[in-house]
Amino acid sequence: MTSTLTPPTGTGSDGDDGRPPRASRLTWRQRISIFDVKASPYAYVAPFFLLFGLVGLFPLAYTFWVSLFDWDLLKGQGDFVGMENFWAILNDRFFWNSIRNTISIFLLSAIPQLAMALLLAYLLDQGLRAKTFWRMSILLPYVVTPVAVAIIFSSVFNEADGLVNNLLNLVGIPDQQWKHDTFLSHIAIASMVNWRWTGYNTLILLAAMQAVPRDLYESAAIDGAGAARRFFSVTIPSIRPTLIFVVITATIGGLQIFTEPRLFDVSNAGGIGGADRQFQTTVLFMWELAFFRRDFGEASAVAWLLFLLIVAFGLVNFLLSRRVATGDARGGRRAARRAARKGADA
């Protein structure tokens, strides 16, 4: 076991007494063993990377290749146009419209969703009766396929007779234009995303919270920290890596949203997300370009621009959530304390 825990370079240091004459003294068998220890891990991880190369890297590269051509969906590869597709997309008002919509829907879904998931996970982490029941029921929405969710919510947010408008009418609020008003349509779509993903994130955060040593809470409580203080000063910093993971996956998912806006608008077969493209997200725009307008080259350019955008957002979120989750953002007191402790250690 110990040999797997030490990094590969460490294995060499086992015999650092005889480093210079190493080659001559090792037997064939030993050399095989060393090679085995060094190389085997790569063989273990290789299947993933082979698959990743096949279904991840290759499509990415091929998409870039396609984006350099005039490429009709049906007729296939046309003339080489270089970066022209990218310029065309960057000058397309519908592209920017789709980016605005995507970011708006992303913010409306990711922030409340993660806040809610944190809160729910915290509650589920307390001593509840019938724990498994509560934990499983929170995951239930995640099991429903997005298509079903979109169809049900599309009916719930129906402008003429939908459940939401009927409920609003009960309290004296007139019908709202859930499918025509830009902001309202974003809220409606974000609510589908939240409904589906909150439980998923909750369970992941809960798993992380369960791993927080209980004595940390006890000592914090003894020191006089209230529930809120324990949550912000013990729980959140302790689950930092998980929190970052959840934020990053939510970012990737949120920027790739497609099914919900596509099915929210059944009347436009061309998939433009509302008569005025009120809720056409970037992936929906890409779908329209590729499969309706048949311009595969420009659609590939959109795919790449979206990829870059997601990477950028992912990095920003990574940095932000790292700062927030360590609690260093504001006072920096703890950082100072830790630095002091480190100094003392040394």
Binding site: V37, L73, L74, F94, A160, D161, K179, A269, I272, F291
Partner: protein
């Protein structure tokens, strides 16, 4: 170093597993095409859309040909079937043995007509006289290859709600309605204005379908017959747009979301009184009315009249892709499905009006009442409506122009957000951005 032996085995296993994964990913293809029409068991796949009414015919065919198993897929709308077919053509695989192609996107398919087999190799020429001549010609590409067996065509009549007509003091009898509506589009809208004045309700469901009918009726629509784009500066088109626009501005449109109609409820609660109805749409009207909680007593009827004269909307073809492994068997099934006798059965099941002359004659001489449409002899009426129908040339971007160029401005017009002129201008801007 006890670990080493295990790691070696595991590494070998991991390597083998990844090789196996790669191999299985690449081995989906293969197997020759068996052209011989033997008794060997064959599974044929077929993809249709909307209401095709083929289910009983599949059963019958499988009974008559015990070696054939039919696996059918039906996609909800033509638009989604288009995406399905295009994606699979682009991928170069995945098309079923028989693919139903809609007239509206036939223009795009014709650009890659060599994706589909030339049905002359399977004897379609012997049957060329079966169809109305333009239907056969539509499926023939520039090189003379024939890629589709014609199924239905889309002569248009007028669906109207008799109960609502009565409420508004208009005649509700089928013949009288035909007389009342008979005339051009302007007259149709004028009757609508009377109706609207009497009831305060809308006349048609939404502008998009009406616009589609108005365009389809022209000799040349979004493209000239030689395939030139024909929208900007097309006075005839713009004149019709203005006609529709002023009607909509007068409140004649119910601004419905197509293919949804408030879950079908708008067909039941009197939101609109008329609906443009090609044969295949009859099944859609019935299905949505029933989904909305209505039935035959809701009052829908079918009149032998259409504003501006004969018009065609839609119609489909059955094509066999080159990738099919059972081309001969597939062609035989498609051939059988489009025989006059089967077209009559299809009409009875789904209201799709046949494209073969013999089947049309059969329907014309045998007026079966349709219970849902107030016992209207819909077959006889559609046969009458098909006289003078000639399908318009559809260019490669026809469906894009219909859906994404004219669709959005018309929806805004419906909701009163833009004037007719603004809607037209927006359509031209969109045209240049999306198609130009």
């Amino acid at each position: 170093m006890k670990l080493s032996r295990h790691t070696k085995v595991a590494a070998a296993l991991a390597g083998a597993a990844s090789v196996a994964l790669l191999a299985s990913a690449c081995s989906s293809d293969g197997g020759g095409t068996d052209e011989a029409a033997s008794d060997e068991p064959i599974t044929l796949t077929i993809t249709t859309f909307g209401t095709f009414g083929y289910d009983d015919l599949y059963e019958q065919y499988m009974e008559e040909n015990p070696n054939i198993t039919i696996e059918a897929t039906n996609i909800d709308t033509g638009g989604n079937a288009r995406t399905d077919a295009f994606t699979k053509i682009a991928a170069g695989s995945g098309l079923s043995d028989i693919v139903a192609i809609e007239e509206g996107w036939l223009g795009s398919i014709m650009e890659v007509s060599d994706t589909f087999v030339d049905l002359r190799d399977f004897g379609i020429e012997d049957r060329s006289g079966d169809w109305v001549d333009w239907k056969y010609a539509q499926a023939t590409d520039a090189d003379g290859r024939v890629i589709g067996y014609g199924t239905d065509i889309g002569p248009e009549g007028l669906c109207y709600n008799g109960a609502l007509f009565e409420e508004a003091g208009l005649p509700s009898d089928r013949a009288e309605v035909a007389e009342l509506i008979d005339g051009d589009w302007e007259h149709f809208f004028d009757v609508g204005r009377d109706y609207q004045e009497a009831t305060g309700k809308a006349w048609y469901d939404h502008s998009g379908f009406v616009w589609n009918a108005m365009v389809n009726q022209l000799d040349e629509g979004y493209y000239t017959a030689d395939g030139e784009l024909n929208v900007e500066g097309n006075a005839e088109l713009q004149e019709r747009f203005e006609l529709l626009g002023s009607a909509t501005e007068d409140g004649l449109s119910a601004a419905q979301a197509a293919w949804d109609w408030n879950g079908g409820k708008s067909f039941v609660d009197g939101t609109f009184a008329t609906f443009v109805c090609p044969g295949w749409m009859l099944g859609v009207v019935q299905g949505n009315t029933e989904a909305g909680g209505g039935d035959a007593t809701t009052g829908w009827d079918f009149a032998d009249v259409f504003p501006g004269g004969a018009a065609n909307w839609g119609g489909a073809f059955l094509a066999v892709p080159e990738t099919s492994e059972h081309q001969a068997a597939a062609a035989a099934l498609a051939d059988w499905l489009t025989q006059p006798e089967q077209q009559v059965a299809q009409f009875e099941a789904a209201g799709t009006f046949p494209s073969t002359v013999a089947a049309q004659d059969e329907l014309a001489s045998n007026p079966t009442p349709n219970e849902f449409f107030n016992d209207a002899p819909v077959g006889e009426i559609l046969a009458g409506r098909s006289v003078g129908v000639v399908a318009q040339f559809k260019g490669p971007d026809d469906s894009v122009i219909q859906e994404n160029v004219f669709g959005p401005p018309l929806q805004k017009l419906d909701r009163g957000e833009v004037s007719t002129q603004e809607a037209w201008d927006e359509a031209i801007v969109l045209l240049n951005e999306l198609v130009g």
